[in-house]
Subunit: 197 residues, 2 copies
Amino acid sequence: MGRWEPNARGRLEQAALELYAERGYEQTPVAEITRRAGLTERTFFRHFADKREVLFAGSGRLAELCAGAVAAAPAAATPMDAAVAALYAAAGVFEERGDLVRLRQSVIDANAELQERELTKLATLSGALAEALRDRGTDDLTARLTAEAAVAVLKVAFEHWIHGSGEQTLRHLLGECVDSLGTAVARGPGAAGSVSG
Amino acid sequence: MGRWEPNARGRLEQAALELYAERGYEQTPVAEITRRAGLTERTFFRHFADKREVLFAGSGRLAELCAGAVAAAPAAATPMDAAVAALYAAAGVFEERGDLVRLRQSVIDANAELQERELTKLATLSGALAEALRDRGTDDLTARLTAEAAVAVLKVAFEHWIHGSGEQTLRHLLGECVDSLGTAVARGPGAAGSVSG
């Protein structure tokens, strides 16, 4: 009690994700998590406000990381280039945490309330990207559309990565999705946009 | 009681949205809604499962309308053209219901839980669009990316329409956003995608 526990946060996260996946998120009390991690509830609440935060504490850091990557992109980079740099930064984190990321996703996929929460976190990420783009001088409309498009790319690439054969890296899939999106939204001669004129 | 009430559903919706906006969604019981509408609670529950459904019953119909527009797009239309046709169909409904749409949005904007629900409905719309595109023979990756991009365009154009000066139609703003997105995600020579190669 009270003494410093090596990697307490990581052990709690690992234990929580395992239990949420095995028994269901709703069915797992904090006491079970701390028992498996060999730590006290007091230690748990020093690291996490509640059991939901184990799943979403990383989302805020991810948004910060992405906004930082946008800010650090070369001045000559287009808004989409800067947003793609942010996606690659995010991909690095996901790939490094591979097994935990997959475990977490299986928990989210099994619970409608957590899925709603996840969508909110993605909307927050989009907002952070848009703000970082505006800070670079990108106009508001372009910033918002680019940020939404980037999050769309991340979502689709991530799903393929999680549910796919596992042969391709997330970074590779991101690159494919960016290219596919560019092709898909290119305005061709028969573009419906002309209908609106 | 029991007799047919002219436009009962519309009157209940109008009364509910007014009350949610005036007093807050949480603070409005169904009894208040029916009192203002001059109808019985029995009539309310014949039309809506609960008070939240007054806000979201239209989302399912919107997804059907959009999927139908994708299916009805000419065979030669690109996936994005078909998705944009769906957006214009949606815009027609929003513009027709103008005041109610604005009232509804002010209610959603004031309540975090309703915002999460709204994001889920947008994800459902994206899923319906993607499915309609796959039914046209679009590959899965392109279908998902196009659907997400279309929903992104709808979100951003809608926000500008709701919070803007009111001088531009939603259809005009949609066209602008489609063009801006096309410009933003076009792969230029300095594109970050090349970093992944």
